[in-house]
Amino acid sequence: MESLSNLMDGFATVLTPMNMLWVFIGALLGTAVGVLPGLGSAMAVALLLPVTFSLDPIGAFIMFAGVLFGGLFGDSIAGILMNTPGNSTAIAGSIEGHRMAKSGRAAQALATSAIGAFIGGIIAATLVVFFAPSLAELATLFGPAEYLALAIFAFVAISAVVSDSVIRGLAALVIGLAISLVGIDGASGAARFTGGLPELFDGVDIVVITVGLLALGEVLAIAARRGTPEDTGILPSTGRLWLSRTEFRLALPAWLRGTAIGVPFGIIPVGGSEVPTFLAYGTERRLDARRRKPMFGKGAIQGVAGPEASGNATAGTAMGALLALGLPTSATAAILLAAFRQYGLQPGPLLFERASELVWALLASFFIGMVVLLILNLPFAPLWAKLLKVPRHYLYAGITVFAMLGVYATSSKILDLVLVLAIGLLGFGMRRYGIPVAPVLIAVILGPLAETEYRRAMAVSEGDPSALVSSPISITLYSVLLLTVAGLLFQRVRTRRRQKALV
């Protein structure tokens, strides 16, 4: 019950007018960014990082929490009303959601999605409150070898799972690792790949990389696609805002199933909510096919409820994994890790002791943020959709201005602006040739960690490599990784064969 009293203290911290304002601003910004196509909460947090320099850490982090979940609430709005999901996490929920909108049930679809995101988020946050402290205790058993195993797990899992080609995923990972090498090596003090430029001694800033890959890369991709008539046919949001009892009875189990699917994925580093949302979609569809009158294809409410709940559940437990283990399991979590470091905090088991006020305030702000977001999204979803009517060229010109401002404000270095342009071009190329971006971010964040932990483990064992696989925890991690990859490859070969048989 210690968690509960801590959480109450957290609520007391957050429920001040100023902190409530930060929650609200974060929720507004997050939803706005979520609604806009191609932009997600990872980029929003990266753009906000320099701006929040002057805030106290608690204010900054509860704003980030609002942004994080706001992005997930908002991304389904464009998907349902326009069939252009704001983010890859909303693709699964938009399939049936757009069909509902077409048959005049847009408002119900939006409500289902908002309530689903709320339920998934609240359940995940509750689990985090009760289990994160024990997870943190477990993490104190982790030594260098275990952390190295976790990092390798994250590398392989994200490269293999996120992209549909393992080679492309791993190539992206290698690019990220190469970028992460730049700078002074902490252990020995040797300058690596800086070309003698003192500006590069600290390495390439994570804000530069995120903003370049996610924001500028997207702007360049939009530019390259110019001339494509936009089909911005926004369907009107008609129908009842609330759900009827039958609809509610259909949606409730789907929300809960979606949450159950989403929760474990927050702890596994497979790059966020894409996989669980599609798994939830598939589950709902299979269950629906058994009914007498299958609704899938005509706008099934479960098809919206399941994926939305699972997406937010994953984001919630991912925050738990980040706080307790210091392990980012998605691009957004990776940026938040950078944010913690900016304030001189290192997420992980010690965070609960050293910055317990911040941690519990952050957890409390999840609950408050979720309520604020439900209020912002349930009745006002059609208003948010109006954002999509702002001409694209102004929208993305504004985003570029803020991207360059954010990068320059962090460091006041012109070189960073040149780097952000170069990385933006890289991000554009990756989008153009179907190479996933998420492995680059994970590699940049975890690459230095992997190297440090490896060298630490080697120093402890005096160069004996068997120390890397000597503890039960690391053995378990490596075997789970092997099993996952083997299972994944097996499944891919099987589907490929099945496709060939069909042709």
Binding site: P50, I167, I222, T228, G297, H393, G398, L421
Partner: protein
Amino acid sequence: MTVTDTRPERTATADGFLRRRTGLVFPLLLLITGIALGIGTLTMEVPDNTASPGPQLFPTIIAIACVVFAVLLAVDVLRRPEPALVATPGSTTDTTPTATDTDTPTAEDSDDTPVEEPPATRPRSNYRALFGVVGTIVVFIAVLNPLGWLISGAWLFWGIARALGSRRVVFDLFLAVAISSIVQLAFSAGLGLNLPPGILAGVF
């Protein structure tokens, strides 16, 4: 919604071996990165009293990985070229989800407007717009310090909006100046961020 002609057109060169394999730039990039890392590792100045897995081990591994994946990716690109057909302006080819799930959602559609499976096309790039954006940013970077945020920020907004297809030159100019002024006020005066004043230093 406007129904546009989404039929793809054939490229002028019937075969276009390299045109369908422009993805080779990525293996090339990896190869160059690998070589650069290799040279950098060999010429690295390592302090004398460094513990045994020194600062050169990881760069070596990654340099080798770069070269290995350059080869693998090149083989992948060569074996699976992009479609010979180029998307006409009007067809969207970018929204296909890269879902890894085996249960692809578009398997059956009893919808009145079926999700049409457009013939595989390769994305067409609008190079003028692309160079417009890149050029605007390059100029922005060059003039930021000499001219200051107010002017260069306005240029950035105006140039990007124009490159992305805005044609209201004068209106955009006012909008751009308004936005860069708001940013200057909010972030420089309000949040205390350091923005270069440039030639307008005395005015504020």
